[in-house]
Symmetry: C2
Amino acid sequence: MITKANRLQHVKEYYFSTKLREVRQLIAQGKPVINIGIGSPDLDPPMAVSRALQQTLEKNHIHGYQSYQGIPELRNAIAHFYQRHYNVTVHPENEILPLMGSKEGIMHISMAFLNPGDEVLIPNPGYPTYTSVTNLLGAVPVYYDLVEENNWFPDLEKLSKTNLSKVKMMWINYPHMPTGSKPTKKLFEQLIIFAKQHQVLLINDNPYSFILNDTPKSILEINGAKEVALELNSLSKTFNMAGWRVGMLLGSQEHITTVLQVKSNMDSGMFYGIQQGAIAALKSDINWFVNVNAVYKKRREIAFSIAEALHCTYDKDTAGLFVWAKLPKGKKATAVTDELLYTYNVFLAPGTVFGSNGEGYIRISLCVPEETLAQVLKRLTK
Amino acid sequence: MITKANRLQHVKEYYFSTKLREVRQLIAQGKPVINIGIGSPDLDPPMAVSRALQQTLEKNHIHGYQSYQGIPELRNAIAHFYQRHYNVTVHPENEILPLMGSKEGIMHISMAFLNPGDEVLIPNPGYPTYTSVTNLLGAVPVYYDLVEENNWFPDLEKLSKTNLSKVKMMWINYPHMPTGSKPTKKLFEQLIIFAKQHQVLLINDNPYSFILNDTPKSILEINGAKEVALELNSLSKTFNMAGWRVGMLLGSQEHITTVLQVKSNMDSGMFYGIQQGAIAALKSDINWFVNVNAVYKKRREIAFSIAEALHCTYDKDTAGLFVWAKLPKGKKATAVTDELLYTYNVFLAPGTVFGSNGEGYIRISLCVPEETLAQVLKRLTK
């Protein structure tokens, strides 16, 4: 066997893959495990999405290579979507890059801007892929604290006093996963000032803004944001299309062109039918959002009751696909989730999956039907 | 603007993107340019492919995240395909990794095994992406010569006498693009011996084996090949599905697991409907290959005549989507292709796109209808 690259020494197996293997084993042993740990939407996309894909299959010449930048209609649809929902103007010709999922975008952006040794500000708690991609490229993750007392916002004043000379990039993700914390305009303004002051590329990973949130916000709505900021977005959560792999990157022409240089050397354009499905989704009317959120609201009520059954406290005014619940003082996250798994056959995510500041918290997914959540509640309260 | 990563300093814009932009400009100016430069199949996939995708859209729960390793049915279909067509046994559970296109695989493999400074043996002439991915990761391309006198095979004896101490990987691509040279069992055997002797990971990029070739071969048919070799394959050319982005990697469990470690940190599983389309393609019966090749054979006859009209010589016994033609002595490849573009409004690829050993050659694509090739011939001979 040929030895693997050093960069893989830092990459651990994702907690979820290890744990989900265990869950599968338990199920194979006959345990009736209910999984409320994962954020993969179970609802269907808008009807028009599959129909649009289906219609392309009747056309000719849809099977060949597609442009790295996607078809112009897709970039136009993204531009309209940003105008309509975020009141942000992005030029469809050169300020939008469709991606095969926003996860892929994390690698593309990191390859475009990071040299080995560069430091990257990463939220703790936060999405683990920011760390693993940074490590894969030999750059250095520098975690910034998010704490409940500060609404899970970064303390930029404190951060400014640290040595930021090697920092090249900063990941933010508002509405925030796993806490559900919603951004304010002031937060975004301060982040842009911070990024300009320290010449840091600020990337807002923004897949959750339409889930349980009436006021979607984009970092690009701040004046002059494009000088230092990029935004990643995705259809996965907004339109229940996680498996379709449609993401997008938005920002200045210069930054987008740099990322395109990477992308054109490592992947190809998106399947034509998927692009047409994405266009149909982006054109959804306001009822789509209302209806999806009505489902999530009902589920969340039960998730709140589950949190209460576990003697947790929680914030009701959050966005996204999860309830983030604080355990009673002294309880350890993995101890609680393991106990739930082994005693009640219920799997949910310990907060520590997302970093040390997740200690003392658990994350309950809203991606399962009401009946399933009710069943969990029954198990915990009987 | 935030400065780009150093790795992008080595990455030039792909010759084709620059040139195709020029072609588009000429067309916009009213020039009737015919493009026979690009290898994107124009024919349709098997009928069953779109039908299979269409049928999935009627099912529920097909829109969520998919496993990084693809559904078991896809891996089974790939294993059967390899058994049936190459007489190679690969275990569907752990020796197959479906990919979103084999181009993506070049990056995945390189990230999995290359450290900065490692050397990579790359064919000259050859597919430019091997070089750009190597450069993106700070590894060092070391070109090995392929020349017509040696049937475009590497001179392994000569190569063994060079300093290979820093070489970690070697790209081969048989049937070879751009020359169409077909591999022999002896060549593959010698390559495996060479790879074992020098502890080099050998990767055969094998997308062309079913095009104008009755004897598809895999590097994995050599005894003990899996110890040092991987094979990349793709549905793009075999089933005219370039836009679908379906590739696959085959090799030992250890090597596949290492690549999966990279993949799981940078992308996600393939859309369920695309996987079902891929399965339908892989199950195609032998008539599929016969019929597609009948079309390419007719086209190739005209391409041969085009080569003759340009006073070129060529090998008739080649595989793949191109005719690789040798210009009359003293003629420069780009001088000829530019003259063809500006005088006859015909765009084709100069051999130098693929490396210095492509000087004195041109590449004619078979991915256009007979009538189009006939039109080119008419322009050149009238």
